[in-house]
Symmetry: C2
Subunit: 416 residues, 2 copies
Amino acid sequence: MSFSIADAAHSAKRAARQVANLSAPQKNQLLADIAQALVANTHSILIANNKDVALGKENGLDEAMLDRLALNAESIQGIADAVLEIAGQEDPVGNIANIKRMPSGIQVGKMRIPLGVIAMIYESRPNVTIDAAALCLKAGNAVILRGGKESLHSNLALAKCIEMALAKQQLDPAAVVVVPDTDRAVMNELMTLNESIDLIIPRGGEGLIRFVSENSRIPVIQHFKGVCHLYVDSAADEAKALALLENGKTQRTGVCNSLETLLVHQDIAPRFLPKAAALLAQHQTLVHACENSISYFNGAQHATKEDWHAEYLAMEIAVKVVVDFDQAIAHIEEYGSGHTEVIVSQDYSKTQAFIRRVDSAVVMANASSRFSDGGQLGLGAEIGISTSKLHAYGPMGAESLTTEKFIVMGDGEVRS
Amino acid sequence: MSFSIADAAHSAKRAARQVANLSAPQKNQLLADIAQALVANTHSILIANNKDVALGKENGLDEAMLDRLALNAESIQGIADAVLEIAGQEDPVGNIANIKRMPSGIQVGKMRIPLGVIAMIYESRPNVTIDAAALCLKAGNAVILRGGKESLHSNLALAKCIEMALAKQQLDPAAVVVVPDTDRAVMNELMTLNESIDLIIPRGGEGLIRFVSENSRIPVIQHFKGVCHLYVDSAADEAKALALLENGKTQRTGVCNSLETLLVHQDIAPRFLPKAAALLAQHQTLVHACENSISYFNGAQHATKEDWHAEYLAMEIAVKVVVDFDQAIAHIEEYGSGHTEVIVSQDYSKTQAFIRRVDSAVVMANASSRFSDGGQLGLGAEIGISTSKLHAYGPMGAESLTTEKFIVMGDGEVRS
C-alpha cells in the first residue's frame, strides 16, 4: 500500500488533540517508555543503522556525513538519556499568565497551549528523529518527521520504538509519523498541507532551508547560517578577549555558534593583535585580514567582501580593525546573520549599548559565543535555532513549540 | 519618477534601525505630533477623502464600502485620539525578563525588541493607515502601508501628517511608507522582499488573506473568518445565556466577534430554546436550525453543513442541539475558525474543561464573545486578530509587533 502524506497529516491532526490533553505525568511516562524502548532495541536499531552506513559507503557519502549517520550502543544510550532529560523538564503547557480584571468586570489571562502538528524536515543525523519527537510530545504536539534518504532504515527502526511506547500508553500511533517515503514529491506535498500542519522546521543545509521557506504554505522556522562576531573593544580586558577568541574559534569549528569574524577597536589593535596572531597561529588558523591588520598575521590573506559574509565552519577567521564602537555595530548590522554576537569590554556603558543595539538572536557581553545553544542558555534540549524574528528567535526549546490563547472568565457580562 | 517598492523597503529597513533605538518618550512625542498634525490638517484630509468618495460613487462602490471610506471632522478627531491612547500605553520595547544564572556562571535573560519592518496590506478604511502606523512605531518598527486603490487620496493626505511629524522629530521619513502605487504588481513584488520586510499583516476579505498567505515569501499573520460559538450547557444560568446570546448575536452583526452558531445541551433545550426563539424573533433573526431544534423556531430553515461553517455577519444564526458537552467540543473542533468560543455554565468543572480543551484564540466562560478585541482584553489598540497559532494568536497589540532576543552577561566565561 502506498504512503499518503495527506492522510498521515490528517491523522496527525486528530492525534494532536489527544496529545494536547495529556497531563504532564502522562507525557513524561510516554517519554520514559520511549527511552526504555530505545535501549531495549539497541540491537535492531544498529542492524538498521549498519544497513544505512553500508548503503552510504556504496553511494559515496563523505566521511563527515557517514560520521553523522553512524550510531553505536553508546550513542543510542545518549539519545535515550536526552529523552529522559526532556521528560525531567518543566511542562510548558497549561500555565496561565497575568490574569487581569478589566473595567467590564471580565477576567482575562493567557494560557499556554500546544501548536498542533509540527513537521521536521532534516538530513542525515538519526538522533534528530528521537530528539524532535520527544520535544514535540513534551510540548503536547503531534509530529511528522521527514528525514533524509540516507538514514531511512535507522529512522524507521527508531520509529518502531516510539510506536511501541505510544501503544503501551494506548495512544494514537499517528501522534508521531516517520515518513517512510523520502521522495521529493512527498516533501513538496507536505508543504501544501496547511489545513493539517501548523509549523515546519527544516534543519540542514542553506539550500534545503531556502527551498522550504520559499515554497511552503505553512509557516517555517528558518535557521540560516551563523556568522558570529567577537568585538574586542578599546576597553577590553585582553586576557578575557584572548580566552573568548580561542574558545569561540577553536573549541569546535563545525558548529553555527563558533566565531567567524573578529572586530578589533583601533586603539587596542597594536597591543591585542600580536597576541591574537600568536594564538591563532598556535591553532593553525587561516586568517583573512583587512588592510589595517594584515601585517600582524603571518600567511594571512587579504579579506574580501565574501569573507565578511563567510561562515567558514573551519579553522579560518576574518579580522577587521574598526575605528570605533559605532563602526563595529554597523559592520555587524551589515554582515551579521542574526545569530550570536559578543562584545569584550570592561566599559559599562558600551556593554549595555551593545546588548541593547545589536539585534541578533543572542547578544553577549564578555562570554563565549559557544554558549549560544539551548542547553547552555537554560532551555534544555533544543529543536533548532531561529535566525528569523517571527514566533521564536534564537535557540528553541519545548516552550517555543507552544503558543498562548486568551482565556476569559466572566459572570454574564455583556458589551455595551 | 516611478515608485520602487524594493527601494522603499530597503530604506524602511534602514529607518527601522533608527526607530528601534528611540526612547519611549521620543516615540510618544512622535505619536503626539502625528495626532496634532491630523487635527491641524483636517481640512486637506477631508478634501482628499471627498475625492475618494466621489470616485467611489462613480465606480459603483456599495454603500457599506462608501461608509467605511468616508471621513469627517469627528472621525479624524477620533483617529487622533486613538493615536494619543497608543502613546499613553506601556512601551513594550527593552524590557528584560527572567535573568537567570547558569551553571557556567553566565547570566541569561530575554530582552524584548522590535521586529523590524512590518507591511500592512488592507482595503478601504483609511483609519487603518494611522492606527497601523502608530502601533508599529510604538513597538519600534518601520512600516509599509499598502491600502486599497479606493482610499488612495485619503491615505496620501494622512501620510503627509505622518511625514510632518517625522520631520519635526528629525527622523528618517522612510520609517513610514505609504505606497502610492496600488497596482497589483507592486503588491506582488512586496511579498518577495524577505530581505527587507519581516512580517506582512493582510486585513480584508478572505480572498486577499489567502492570496497573500499562499504567495508571500515573508511570514504572514492570518486573520480568517470568525465563526464564534455560544455553547449553552445543561448547567447554564438561563438568564445569562439569553443575555450572552442577545449581546453576541445582535449588538453588532458585521464584526468577526459576533456569534454565528448556538449549541444547546439537549437537557436544557426544551426550557431554553423557546426563550431563545422569542429573543431571536424580536431581533428578526433568520435561524438555520438542526432537526432537533427546528420546531422551536418560526420560519427557520433546515441547517446544512454550510451553515456550520458560515460567518453570516448578519441577523442570522445556526442552531444545533448537542447530546452532551463532548459533542459541543467536537462540533467546535470540526467547524470552528479558531477565533472565539463561549460556554455558559454554572458547573465549575465544565467551565474549566471548556477553557482548557477548546483551542481557539479566545475561550470564554460566561462572557460575551463581543469582548474579543484588543481594547476589551486589555491590549489597547489592536492591529489585527490572528487565527493562526504562530507568533501571535488572537487580538494583537503593540507587544505582538515585537520579539525577544537572548542576552548574556558574562565575565570571561568559556565553554569547556
